[in-house]
Symmetry: C2
Amino acid sequence: MGRDCDKFSRNQRIVGITKVLTETPNKVVNLNTFTEMFNAAKSTVSEDVVIVRETLEKLSVGKVETVSGAAGGIKFTVDISEEEKEKFEKKLCEIASEEDRVMVGDFLYVTDLIFNPNIIVPAAKILSSIFKDLDVDYVVTIETKGIPLAYEVAKNLGVQLVTVRNRNKVTEGASVYVNYISGTNKRIQTMSLSRKAMKKNSKCVFIDDFMRGGGTAKGIKELLSEFDSELLACGVLVDNNSEGQEKLMDNYISIIEFNGINQEGRAMVNPSDKRTL
Amino acid sequence: MGRDCDKFSRNQRIVGITKVLTETPNKVVNLNTFTEMFNAAKSTVSEDVVIVRETLEKLSVGKVETVSGAAGGIKFTVDISEEEKEKFEKKLCEIASEEDRVMVGDFLYVTDLIFNPNIIVPAAKILSSIFKDLDVDYVVTIETKGIPLAYEVAKNLGVQLVTVRNRNKVTEGASVYVNYISGTNKRIQTMSLSRKAMKKNSKCVFIDDFMRGGGTAKGIKELLSEFDSELLACGVLVDNNSEGQEKLMDNYISIIEFNGINQEGRAMVNPSDKRTL
């Protein structure tokens, strides 16, 4: 990246540092990366970093922390302001309660939303800002619809995404299988994960699009225990309370709540109460 | 975002502009967004933007274009330098040819890679920088393993991701079904897409993790024609040439090539020849 270019001005170095840091959240970046990139002294780069840190915090878009030690440097952690968060939750509720989103069987159609980067990026920021101090080794999801949100959270936390399958895959090698009861169709299903997918003794968060009764999350917890690994918490986009049932899982956060269908045939959706662990 | 804060310095405005622009690729951002955010004059913000543009181009990490007209403003488009691209491709080939990646049946295990943000982010930059001038309406993928790469490309191109399913889903409403022959197990499979998933007369690119014979891409093309929509091109992470067969699809690009297993039982992998459309 530009090592053979001329000298860079402070303004230019600041642009580059902002780009690199915000693009690799939760990863420690050594200051040498920047001294080499800009052919500048460490003291100069340190001053640049102070400006970047102060501005990102002033704008409430993230923090820049100093990590000391031999492998030290600086790292960016994702944040979202309360104002942005509320604005996004309100907008998401409006979209989710649009006409034509209620399908046969009173299912809420959100497939477009969970594959829309404009929705997934802010939703992942909300979840990541809550999970960022948990010292997570993996973000776990189950195919298919939770993948974009889980991927974005994994990126924000600087860790690998692990995707549990619900069919046997010939290309995955020796795998562990667990049965679970899914909320959507209330029948026993099987989830599987390759032995190669995860190191033992790992700490995980589970991310999904919907949570109804928490049966899937409970299955994930059991599956992870087969890897001597722990499920610390869950995060979902939509908390489905339309049947008012008890959750099998209490350590979770959600962004919006779906409370059933009103008399005009629209979904009743509001920002979730489950905002902290 | 910080509208009620004090004044911002040039350095601080530049940090904020870089963050906003690089986070929303291919989206037109009106200059008023920044004049409001920083409580600054349009002429001041215009000068800031020049600095951000020049630096991002100097570092070969993206371009900032001016869009004129009533809905005008500036937009950031993703780029990657030749140096970064080559470094990434080389590293990816090394990883893919590690021991223990060859599974029973001579399948190459890449599940960890296609769910790893450190791999997916640069891979998506390579594909996006080639597709960015195609004026794409949707990025299309098929569940499951292509989703993170396709999502990241969709984000870079500023469009919605559409994920084709290979099972019937009760929550998707009226859907279109197409049969296709998948390369992995050479049997007839069914792919489906909800009528709600895509507007008619759309232009699409198809993104997947692997391409063997191109049977899946051909199925996608047929499926899209049911939506009066067009498949402009395909992009894959791994071009599987291990069986040396003809592709059913020629308008595609790939990042690395898998050419079978060598005598030591390792995958033979090299940067792809299919680098341009």
